[in-house]
Protein backbone atom coordinates (compact mmCIF):
# COMPACT_ATOMS: atom_id res chain seq x y z
CA UNK A 1 0.00 0.00 0.00
CA UNK A 2 1.57 3.29 -1.02
CA UNK A 3 1.76 5.93 1.64
CA UNK A 4 -0.52 8.94 1.63
CA UNK A 5 2.35 11.26 0.96
CA UNK A 6 3.63 9.37 -2.08
CA UNK A 7 0.09 9.22 -3.50
CA UNK A 8 -0.28 12.93 -3.09
CA UNK A 9 3.03 13.51 -4.86
CA UNK A 10 1.98 11.34 -7.76
CA UNK A 11 -1.31 13.16 -8.15
CA UNK A 12 0.50 16.49 -8.26
CA UNK A 13 2.96 15.26 -10.84
CA UNK A 14 0.27 13.76 -13.07
CA UNK A 15 -1.64 17.02 -12.79
CA UNK A 16 1.31 19.03 -14.05
CA UNK A 17 1.86 16.55 -16.87
CA UNK A 18 -1.76 17.03 -17.80
CA UNK A 19 -1.29 20.78 -17.88
CA UNK A 20 1.62 20.39 -20.28
CA UNK A 21 -0.17 17.99 -22.61
CA UNK A 22 -3.21 20.25 -22.59
CA UNK A 23 -1.11 23.27 -23.54
CA UNK A 24 0.65 21.26 -26.25
CA UNK A 25 -2.67 20.19 -27.65
CA UNK A 26 -3.88 23.76 -27.87
CA UNK A 27 -0.64 24.95 -29.45
CA UNK A 28 -0.82 22.11 -31.97
CA UNK A 29 -4.41 23.02 -32.79
CA UNK A 30 -3.43 26.62 -33.50
CA UNK A 31 -0.44 25.55 -35.57
CA UNK A 32 -2.54 23.01 -37.44
CA UNK A 33 -4.84 25.78 -38.53
CA UNK A 34 -1.94 27.77 -39.88
CA UNK A 35 -0.42 24.74 -41.59
CA UNK A 36 -3.74 23.92 -43.20
CA UNK A 37 -4.11 27.47 -44.46
CA UNK A 38 -0.62 27.32 -45.94
CA UNK A 39 -1.40 24.03 -47.66
CA UNK A 40 -4.63 25.50 -48.96
CA UNK A 41 -2.89 28.60 -50.29
CA UNK A 42 -0.31 26.52 -52.12
CA UNK A 43 -2.91 24.47 -53.93
CA UNK A 44 -3.63 26.73 -56.97
CA UNK A 45 0.03 26.73 -57.96
CA UNK A 46 0.54 22.99 -57.75
CA UNK A 47 -2.75 22.36 -59.54
CA UNK A 48 -1.81 24.66 -62.41
CA UNK A 49 1.62 23.10 -62.53
CA UNK A 50 0.15 19.61 -62.70
CA UNK A 51 -2.22 20.72 -65.46
CA UNK A 52 0.60 22.24 -67.48
CA UNK A 53 2.76 19.15 -67.01
CA UNK A 54 -0.11 16.94 -68.11
CA UNK A 55 -0.73 18.95 -71.25
CA UNK A 56 2.97 18.93 -72.07
CA UNK A 57 3.19 15.22 -71.40
CA UNK A 58 0.58 14.52 -74.02
CA UNK A 59 2.68 16.32 -76.61
CA UNK A 60 6.18 15.14 -75.85
CA UNK A 61 7.34 11.62 -76.53
CA UNK A 62 9.83 10.27 -74.10
CA UNK A 63 12.98 9.28 -75.91
CA UNK A 64 16.69 9.18 -75.29
CA UNK A 65 16.76 12.87 -76.21
CA UNK A 66 14.39 13.80 -73.41
CA UNK A 67 15.69 15.47 -70.27
CA UNK A 68 17.12 12.96 -67.82
CA UNK A 69 14.70 14.05 -65.12
CA UNK A 70 11.91 12.69 -67.30
CA UNK A 71 13.47 9.81 -69.14
CA UNK A 72 15.58 8.45 -66.30
CA UNK A 73 19.19 7.33 -66.49
CA UNK A 74 18.29 4.10 -68.20
CA UNK A 75 19.07 2.24 -64.99
CA UNK A 76 17.17 1.55 -61.85
CA UNK A 77 19.94 0.16 -59.72
CA UNK A 78 20.45 2.89 -57.15
CA UNK A 79 17.38 4.14 -55.31
CA UNK A 80 17.36 7.20 -53.13
CA UNK A 81 14.72 7.40 -50.44
CA UNK A 82 13.97 10.95 -49.38
CA UNK A 83 12.28 10.63 -46.03
CA UNK A 84 10.53 13.72 -44.69
CA UNK A 85 9.72 13.76 -41.01
CA UNK A 86 9.51 16.35 -38.27
CA UNK A 87 12.12 17.88 -36.02
CA UNK A 88 10.15 17.30 -32.86
CA UNK A 89 8.72 14.23 -31.28
CA UNK A 90 5.60 13.77 -29.17
CA UNK A 91 3.48 13.65 -32.28
CA UNK A 92 1.87 10.27 -31.85
CA UNK A 93 2.67 7.79 -34.59
CA UNK A 94 3.54 10.49 -37.11
CA UNK A 95 7.27 9.94 -37.42
CA UNK A 96 7.27 6.20 -36.84
CA UNK A 97 4.59 5.65 -39.48
CA UNK A 98 6.72 7.39 -42.08
CA UNK A 99 9.81 5.54 -40.94
CA UNK A 100 7.95 2.23 -41.07
CA UNK A 101 6.84 2.79 -44.66
CA UNK A 102 10.35 3.83 -45.65
CA UNK A 103 11.83 0.77 -43.96
CA UNK A 104 9.41 -1.54 -45.72
CA UNK A 105 10.35 -0.01 -49.08
CA UNK A 106 14.02 -0.22 -48.21
CA UNK A 107 13.73 -3.91 -47.41
CA UNK A 108 11.73 -4.61 -50.56
CA UNK A 109 14.29 -2.85 -52.73
CA UNK A 110 17.19 -4.58 -51.04
CA UNK A 111 15.48 -7.92 -51.51
CA UNK A 112 15.41 -7.13 -55.23
CA UNK A 113 19.13 -6.56 -55.13
CA UNK A 114 19.00 -2.78 -55.52
CA UNK A 115 21.32 -0.33 -53.86
CA UNK A 116 19.48 1.98 -51.50
CA UNK A 117 20.55 5.36 -50.20
CA UNK A 118 18.75 7.44 -47.63
CA UNK A 119 18.31 11.18 -47.36
CA UNK A 120 16.43 12.67 -44.44
CA UNK A 121 14.55 15.92 -44.20
CA UNK A 122 13.98 16.46 -40.51
CA UNK A 123 15.83 14.36 -38.00
CA UNK A 124 13.09 12.35 -36.35
CA UNK A 125 12.87 9.56 -38.89
CA UNK A 126 16.64 9.38 -38.98
CA UNK A 127 17.14 7.88 -35.55
CA UNK A 128 15.63 4.43 -36.26
CA UNK A 129 17.74 4.12 -39.41
CA UNK A 130 20.89 5.51 -37.84
CA UNK A 131 21.01 2.36 -35.72
CA UNK A 132 20.46 -0.17 -38.48
CA UNK A 133 21.48 1.42 -41.78
CA UNK A 134 23.99 4.09 -40.84
CA UNK A 135 26.15 3.45 -43.90
CA UNK A 136 23.24 4.16 -46.29
CA UNK A 137 22.53 7.68 -45.05
CA UNK A 138 23.87 10.29 -47.46
CA UNK A 139 22.59 13.45 -45.84
CA UNK A 140 20.17 14.98 -43.38
CA UNK A 141 18.53 18.32 -44.06
CA UNK A 142 18.12 20.25 -40.85
CA UNK A 143 14.75 21.98 -40.58
CA UNK A 144 15.03 23.04 -36.95
CA UNK A 145 15.36 26.73 -37.69
CA UNK A 146 12.40 26.79 -40.08
CA UNK A 147 9.13 27.82 -38.50
CA UNK A 148 6.90 27.83 -41.53
CA UNK A 149 8.06 26.06 -44.65
CA UNK A 150 8.80 28.48 -47.46
CA UNK A 151 9.07 27.56 -51.11
CA UNK A 152 12.76 28.47 -51.05
CA UNK A 153 13.37 25.65 -48.53
CA UNK A 154 11.73 23.15 -50.83
CA UNK A 155 13.63 24.54 -53.78
CA UNK A 156 16.95 24.14 -51.96
CA UNK A 157 16.16 20.47 -51.35
CA UNK A 158 15.01 19.97 -54.93
CA UNK A 159 18.14 21.65 -56.32
CA UNK A 160 20.28 19.45 -54.14
CA UNK A 161 18.43 16.38 -55.44
CA UNK A 162 18.89 17.45 -59.06
CA UNK A 163 22.60 18.08 -58.47
CA UNK A 164 23.03 14.63 -56.93
CA UNK A 165 21.02 13.10 -59.74
CA UNK A 166 23.12 14.74 -62.38
CA UNK A 167 26.27 13.63 -60.59
CA UNK A 168 24.95 10.10 -61.04
CA UNK A 169 24.51 9.37 -57.35
CA UNK A 170 21.20 7.63 -57.90
CA UNK A 171 18.79 6.52 -60.62
CA UNK A 172 15.41 6.67 -58.94
CA UNK A 173 14.20 8.85 -56.08
CA UNK A 174 11.20 8.27 -53.87
CA UNK A 175 9.73 10.84 -51.55
CA UNK A 176 8.20 9.77 -48.24
CA UNK A 177 5.85 12.02 -46.36
CA UNK A 178 2.52 11.94 -44.61
CA UNK A 179 -0.56 13.02 -46.51
CA UNK A 180 -2.93 15.05 -44.41
CA UNK A 181 -6.49 13.76 -44.59
CA UNK A 182 -8.05 14.99 -41.36
CA UNK A 183 -6.69 15.88 -37.95
CA UNK A 184 -7.37 12.27 -36.97
CA UNK A 185 -6.16 10.62 -40.11
CA UNK A 186 -2.80 11.02 -41.79
CA UNK A 187 -1.51 8.61 -44.32
CA UNK A 188 2.16 7.86 -44.88
CA UNK A 189 2.74 8.21 -48.62
CA UNK A 190 5.42 7.21 -51.07
CA UNK A 191 5.84 9.15 -54.27
CA UNK A 192 8.31 8.62 -57.06
CA UNK A 193 9.77 11.99 -57.96
CA UNK A 194 12.75 11.13 -60.17
CA UNK A 195 12.35 10.25 -62.97
CA UNK A 196 9.20 12.33 -63.07
CA UNK A 197 6.09 10.22 -63.29
CA UNK A 198 4.08 12.33 -65.67
CA UNK A 199 0.33 12.26 -65.30
CA UNK A 200 -1.26 10.64 -68.30
CA UNK A 201 -2.23 13.60 -70.44
CA UNK A 202 -5.36 13.48 -72.49
CA UNK A 203 -4.23 12.78 -75.99
CA UNK A 204 -7.33 14.44 -77.37
CA UNK A 205 -6.42 17.36 -79.55
CA UNK A 206 -8.42 19.83 -77.48
CA UNK A 207 -5.31 21.89 -76.87
CA UNK A 208 -3.74 21.17 -80.20
CA UNK A 209 -3.59 24.85 -81.08
CA UNK A 210 -1.44 25.81 -78.11
CA UNK A 211 1.63 27.70 -79.13
CA UNK A 212 4.81 27.01 -77.21
CA UNK A 213 7.47 29.59 -76.74
CA UNK A 214 10.25 28.38 -76.76
CA UNK A 215 9.39 24.85 -77.97
CA UNK A 216 7.87 22.05 -75.89
CA UNK A 217 11.18 20.42 -75.05
CA UNK A 218 12.71 23.64 -73.78
CA UNK A 219 9.69 24.39 -71.64
CA UNK A 220 9.68 20.88 -70.31
CA UNK A 221 13.37 21.08 -69.42
CA UNK A 222 12.66 24.32 -67.62
CA UNK A 223 9.60 23.01 -65.84
CA UNK A 224 10.86 19.63 -64.65
CA UNK A 225 13.09 20.98 -61.86
CA UNK A 226 10.34 23.40 -60.91
CA UNK A 227 7.83 20.62 -60.78
CA UNK A 228 10.18 18.69 -58.52
CA UNK A 229 10.44 21.66 -56.16
CA UNK A 230 6.66 21.97 -56.15
CA UNK A 231 6.28 18.31 -55.24
CA UNK A 232 8.80 18.62 -52.42
CA UNK A 233 7.08 21.77 -51.23
CA UNK A 234 3.71 20.09 -51.24
CA UNK A 235 5.14 17.16 -49.30
CA UNK A 236 6.62 19.47 -46.71
CA UNK A 237 3.35 21.34 -46.30
CA UNK A 238 1.36 18.13 -46.01
CA UNK A 239 3.88 16.93 -43.49
CA UNK A 240 3.62 20.09 -41.43
CA UNK A 241 -0.16 19.80 -41.27
CA UNK A 242 0.00 16.08 -40.53
CA UNK A 243 2.53 16.58 -37.76
CA UNK A 244 0.37 19.10 -35.98
CA UNK A 245 -2.77 17.05 -36.52
CA UNK A 246 -1.08 13.98 -35.19
CA UNK A 247 0.33 15.85 -32.20
CA UNK A 248 -3.04 17.33 -31.43
CA UNK A 249 -4.70 13.91 -31.37
CA UNK A 250 -1.89 12.38 -29.35
CA UNK A 251 -1.91 15.17 -26.81
CA UNK A 252 -5.68 15.05 -26.57
CA UNK A 253 -5.62 11.40 -25.60
CA UNK A 254 -2.66 12.00 -23.28
CA UNK A 255 -4.67 14.68 -21.50
CA UNK A 256 -7.59 12.30 -21.19
CA UNK A 257 -5.38 9.51 -19.87
CA UNK A 258 -3.91 11.86 -17.30
CA UNK A 259 -7.44 12.77 -16.22
CA UNK A 260 -8.32 9.09 -15.76
CA UNK A 261 -5.15 8.51 -13.83
CA UNK A 262 -5.84 11.44 -11.53
CA UNK A 263 -9.30 10.04 -10.83
CA UNK A 264 -7.93 6.60 -10.02
CA UNK A 265 -5.20 7.98 -7.82
CA UNK A 266 -7.63 10.27 -6.00
CA UNK A 267 -9.87 7.32 -5.20
CA UNK A 268 -6.94 5.32 -3.83
CA UNK A 269 -5.81 8.36 -1.89
CA UNK A 270 -9.21 8.92 -0.30
CA UNK A 271 -9.65 5.22 0.54
CA UNK A 272 -6.24 5.09 2.16
CA UNK A 273 -6.97 8.23 4.12
CA UNK A 274 -10.29 6.87 5.29
CA UNK A 275 -8.75 3.55 6.27
CA UNK A 276 -6.19 5.39 8.35
CA UNK A 277 -8.90 7.42 10.11
CA UNK A 278 -10.98 4.32 10.77
CA UNK A 279 -7.96 2.57 12.18
CA UNK A 280 -7.25 5.47 14.51
CA UNK A 281 -10.88 5.57 15.67
CA UNK A 282 -10.88 1.86 16.42
CA UNK A 283 -7.72 2.31 18.40
CA UNK A 284 -9.23 5.13 20.45
CA UNK A 285 -12.52 3.33 21.03
CA UNK A 286 -10.94 0.06 22.04
CA UNK A 287 -8.55 2.03 24.27
CA UNK A 288 -11.51 3.73 25.96
CA UNK A 289 -13.35 0.42 26.40
CA UNK A 290 -10.35 -1.16 28.04
CA UNK A 291 -10.40 1.42 30.81
Amino acid sequence: MPSLKSLKNRITSVKSTQKITKAMKMVAAAKLRRAQDAAEAARPYSERMAAVMASLASRVTVGPESPKLLAGTGNDQVHLLVVCSSERGLAGGFNSNIAKLARRTLEELQAQGKTVKLLFVGKKARAPFARTHKELIVDTVDMTHIKTVAFSDAKAIADDLVARYEAGEFDVAHLFFSTFRTALNQEPTRLQIIPAALPAGDAAGAEAAVEYEPDEEAILADLLPKNLAVQVFRALLENAASEQGSRMTAMDSATRNAGDMINRLSITYNRTRQAAITKELIEIISGAEAL
Partner: protein, 125 residues
Protein backbone atom coordinates in the same frame (compact mmCIF):
# COMPACT_ATOMS: atom_id res chain seq x y z
CA UNK B 1 -16.48 48.79 -72.41
CA UNK B 2 -13.94 46.56 -74.00
CA UNK B 3 -13.58 42.86 -73.24
CA UNK B 4 -11.63 41.83 -70.20
CA UNK B 5 -9.37 38.85 -69.67
CA UNK B 6 -9.15 36.72 -66.53
CA UNK B 7 -5.73 37.17 -65.04
CA UNK B 8 -4.27 35.10 -62.25
CA UNK B 9 -0.86 35.38 -60.63
CA UNK B 10 0.08 32.50 -58.35
CA UNK B 11 3.23 31.77 -56.42
CA UNK B 12 3.88 28.43 -54.72
CA UNK B 13 2.94 29.95 -51.39
CA UNK B 14 -0.25 31.71 -52.30
CA UNK B 15 -2.38 33.33 -54.97
CA UNK B 16 -1.17 36.90 -55.33
CA UNK B 17 -3.67 38.37 -57.70
CA UNK B 18 -6.83 37.38 -59.47
CA UNK B 19 -8.60 39.99 -61.51
CA UNK B 20 -10.31 40.83 -64.74
CA UNK B 21 -8.03 43.13 -66.67
CA UNK B 22 -7.75 44.66 -70.11
CA UNK B 23 -4.18 43.73 -70.94
CA UNK B 24 -1.08 42.20 -69.42
CA UNK B 25 2.41 42.66 -70.81
CA UNK B 26 4.61 39.67 -70.05
CA UNK B 27 8.40 39.53 -70.45
CA UNK B 28 8.70 36.20 -72.28
CA UNK B 29 12.04 34.47 -72.72
CA UNK B 30 11.87 35.21 -76.41
CA UNK B 31 10.59 38.75 -76.07
CA UNK B 32 7.83 40.70 -74.39
CA UNK B 33 4.30 39.96 -75.40
CA UNK B 34 0.99 41.53 -74.56
CA UNK B 35 -1.98 39.38 -73.73
CA UNK B 36 -5.35 40.78 -74.67
CA UNK B 37 -8.75 39.12 -74.51
CA UNK B 38 -9.10 36.44 -77.15
CA UNK B 39 -5.37 35.71 -77.28
CA UNK B 40 -4.51 32.38 -78.90
CA UNK B 41 -3.61 29.63 -76.41
CA UNK B 42 0.09 29.59 -75.65
CA UNK B 43 2.67 28.68 -73.07
CA UNK B 44 5.86 30.55 -72.47
CA UNK B 45 8.65 30.75 -69.97
CA UNK B 46 9.38 34.15 -68.51
CA UNK B 47 12.73 35.79 -68.01
CA UNK B 48 13.25 37.80 -64.81
CA UNK B 49 11.38 41.03 -65.33
CA UNK B 50 8.28 43.00 -64.57
CA UNK B 51 4.82 42.15 -65.79
CA UNK B 52 2.62 45.16 -66.35
CA UNK B 53 -1.10 44.89 -65.76
CA UNK B 54 -3.40 47.33 -67.52
CA UNK B 55 -6.75 47.28 -65.86
CA UNK B 56 -8.46 49.57 -68.31
CA UNK B 57 -8.32 49.40 -72.06
CA UNK B 58 -5.70 51.82 -73.33
CA UNK B 59 -5.02 53.03 -69.79
CA UNK B 60 -1.66 53.06 -68.03
CA UNK B 61 -0.19 50.06 -66.27
CA UNK B 62 -1.91 50.00 -62.89
CA UNK B 63 -0.06 47.12 -61.28
CA UNK B 64 3.44 45.90 -61.84
CA UNK B 65 5.00 42.76 -60.40
CA UNK B 66 8.59 41.68 -60.63
CA UNK B 67 8.62 37.99 -61.57
CA UNK B 68 11.38 35.45 -61.12
CA UNK B 69 11.34 31.89 -62.36
CA UNK B 70 8.03 32.31 -64.03
CA UNK B 71 5.86 30.61 -66.54
CA UNK B 72 2.84 31.96 -68.40
CA UNK B 73 -0.09 30.03 -69.74
CA UNK B 74 -2.77 31.52 -71.92
CA UNK B 75 -5.83 29.38 -72.41
CA UNK B 76 -9.48 29.94 -73.15
CA UNK B 77 -10.07 30.62 -69.48
CA UNK B 78 -7.54 33.43 -69.36
CA UNK B 79 -3.95 34.13 -68.46
CA UNK B 80 -2.25 32.32 -65.60
CA UNK B 81 1.23 33.24 -64.46
CA UNK B 82 3.08 30.81 -62.26
CA UNK B 83 5.93 32.58 -60.54
CA UNK B 84 8.43 31.21 -58.10
CA UNK B 85 8.83 34.67 -56.71
CA UNK B 86 6.75 37.76 -57.36
CA UNK B 87 7.24 41.16 -55.77
CA UNK B 88 5.13 44.24 -56.41
CA UNK B 89 7.47 46.65 -58.14
CA UNK B 90 6.56 49.39 -55.67
CA UNK B 91 8.01 47.25 -52.88
CA UNK B 92 11.41 46.77 -54.44
CA UNK B 93 14.09 48.36 -52.29
CA UNK B 94 16.24 50.13 -54.90
CA UNK B 95 19.12 50.78 -52.53
CA UNK B 96 19.23 47.15 -51.36
CA UNK B 97 19.17 45.91 -54.95
CA UNK B 98 22.05 48.24 -55.85
CA UNK B 99 24.23 46.90 -53.02
CA UNK B 100 23.36 43.29 -53.88
CA UNK B 101 24.13 44.01 -57.52
CA UNK B 102 27.54 45.40 -56.64
CA UNK B 103 28.23 42.35 -54.49
CA UNK B 104 27.10 39.97 -57.25
CA UNK B 105 29.28 41.74 -59.81
CA UNK B 106 32.24 41.39 -57.54
CA UNK B 107 31.53 37.72 -56.95
CA UNK B 108 31.12 37.21 -60.70
CA UNK B 109 27.73 35.56 -60.21
CA UNK B 110 26.32 36.22 -63.66
CA UNK B 111 22.86 34.81 -63.08
CA UNK B 112 22.43 37.04 -60.05
CA UNK B 113 23.77 40.07 -61.92
CA UNK B 114 21.27 39.54 -64.70
CA UNK B 115 18.42 39.08 -62.25
CA UNK B 116 19.31 42.13 -60.20
CA UNK B 117 19.83 44.29 -63.25
CA UNK B 118 16.37 43.38 -64.44
CA UNK B 119 15.04 44.18 -61.01
CA UNK B 120 16.76 47.54 -61.00
CA UNK B 121 15.44 48.34 -64.44
CA UNK B 122 11.92 47.43 -63.35
CA UNK B 123 12.11 49.56 -60.23
CA UNK B 124 13.50 52.66 -61.86
CA UNK B 125 11.29 52.46 -64.89
Amino acid sequence: MADLIDFELVSPERRLAKAKVAMVVVPGTEGDFGVLPGHAPMMSTIRPGAIAIHETDGGPATMRFFIEGGFAEVSDSGLTILAEKATPVSEIDVAAVATQLAAARQAGDEAAVERLEAMQAAATN
